[in-house]
Amino acid sequence: MFLASRMMKTDYLLERAMDVAVIRHQVIADNIANADTPGFKRSRVTFESQLKRALESEEEMKKCPRAYLTNKKHIQFCKPLDYRKVHPKIDVDFDTNYRNDKNNVDIEKEISDAVINTLRYRALSRRLSQNFKMLETVMQ
């Protein structure tokens, strides 16, 4: 919808974050299901740090002087990263070893990650719901 307004941008970010939380939940479920498979390496999802970089680059755009482009081959000084193009990335963690059979799933860490993820999903869902309620009160 209208992404130029701030609230809609927040809604969009909330939706994306919820999508990524579901992906992260599935990756953690897969890690735990394979906690005893020999040779299995755990996976993890990275998204929030890339999103933060993209949003911060927009902030830096305001400090950057704007170049006066006279030729179509000229390039602007600063180019912002588009936060809409940030996608979650699944990394396989090859670098650690935990057991003799090369399996590196630490069940406690996975469970704590799952708890954090679930709480975060609930918070995101509640915030999104509140935003929608705000729009409804406008109409009364």
């Binding site: 299901a33 005893d36 396989v92 799952a114 509640r126």
Partner: protein, 151 residues
């Protein structure tokens, strides 16, 4: 990424761990069985586990799109195989299954089951089972949280 794929993944983990527990319980129950229908003492059995989609995971930093890691779908039991470790020999000439002649005369072949190893495996399987149960609970919480949108 569907609504219930995480639950299916955890269910595969539950099934695999439950099977592992059953095999361990069978091993412990037969730890002293010297005579089986196939002849010979009981051989320890174990479960071979494998990820459901056994796609090779590459270690390169930048991968083409076809080889990038996808979300796994859990674990499956490949087969239940017998452990080929040698049998324990216990000296007991009065035992009806003692070896009658040869260099090992008077020894009884006991199953190659080590109770301590089985107990450790059982604790590990039990912990994994509980972790998978916790994940199913999280899946339910997440689903219910999404249903609250707009309520």
């Amino acid at each position: 990424m569907g609504m219930f794929t995480a639950i299916n993944t955890s269910a595969s983990g539950l099934t695999a761990q439950r099977l592992r527990m059953d095999v361990i319980a069978n091993n412990i129950a037969n730890a002293n069985t010297t005579r089986t229908p196939e002849g010979g003492p009981y051989r320890r059995k174990r479960v071979i586990l494998m990820p459901t989609d056994s796609k090779v995971k590459y270690k390169l930093k930048f991968l083409p799109r076809k080889f990038r890691p996808v979300i796994g779908r859990g674990v499956r039991v490949l087969r239940i195989e017998e452990d080929n470790a040698p049998f324990r020999l216990v000296y007991d000439p009065t035992h009806p299954d003692a070896i009658k002649s040869g260099p090992k005369k008077g020894y009884v072949q006991m199953p190659n089951v080590n109770i301590v190893t089985e107990m450790v495996d059982m604790i590990s399987a039990s912990r994994s089972y509980e972790a998978n149960v916790a994940m199913v609970d999280h899946s339910k919480t997440i689903f219910n949280a999404a249903l609250e949108i707009g309520r």
